[in-house]
């Protein structure tokens, strides 16, 4: 594995973790805004569920 490949892999991993940190700043200010976000979130979670289900660990 090249250094560049490792950089990409680790950065991809860290990017997702870092999202949780920014979450604190991104929370909606009002309940109305939050309700709109919930609709968007439900759709996103549907897509992520499909990605999680599609992943197949290798048979070893």
């Amino acid at each position: 594995m090249t250094g560049a490949e490792i950089v990409l892999l680790v950065d991809a991993l860290l990017t997702v973790s870092t999202r949780l940190v920014s979450l604190a700043r991104e929370l909606p200010d009002t309940d109305t805004e939050a309700k709109e976000r919930l609709v968007d979130l439900e759709a996103r979670l549907q897509g992520i569920l499909a990605e999680v289900a599609a992943y197949k660990p290798k048979e070893v």
Partner: protein, 136 residues
Amino acid sequence: MRPYVFSKWLDRLLGTGLLLILLAYLLSSCAGPRGYVASGEALAAIGQQFVQTGHLYDTLLEKKLITPEQYRPWAAFAKEFQWSYPKAVEMWRLAVRSEDAAAAGKLEEVVLALKNQLLTFALEAAERLRPAGGKP
């Protein structure tokens, strides 16, 4: 140079342990729609991290940076995660629709457990990337 860079990444990754505290705070401090946004975003991030970590483990195995014996715990965890994650998402949906505080509390426990386990595997994978004999 390489060991330093790897160590820097590992330190950053270890720093994500603080995420658990932040996550617990986010999940428990916000009631109502804002709280559900926080827990939903956390679930989304965990799902994406699972897929990323899976690809990382697959690459480590393909490049023979880990043995099949070292890969096996990940494969077992992946199957458990794929069973429990959809249930956690469903629990979130039900909590949002019913605005049930008890369900939200249970969801908090589930999200933290999934995040904890996933982080353990992510750290293990990062450790495998560290060159043999490299100093922290």
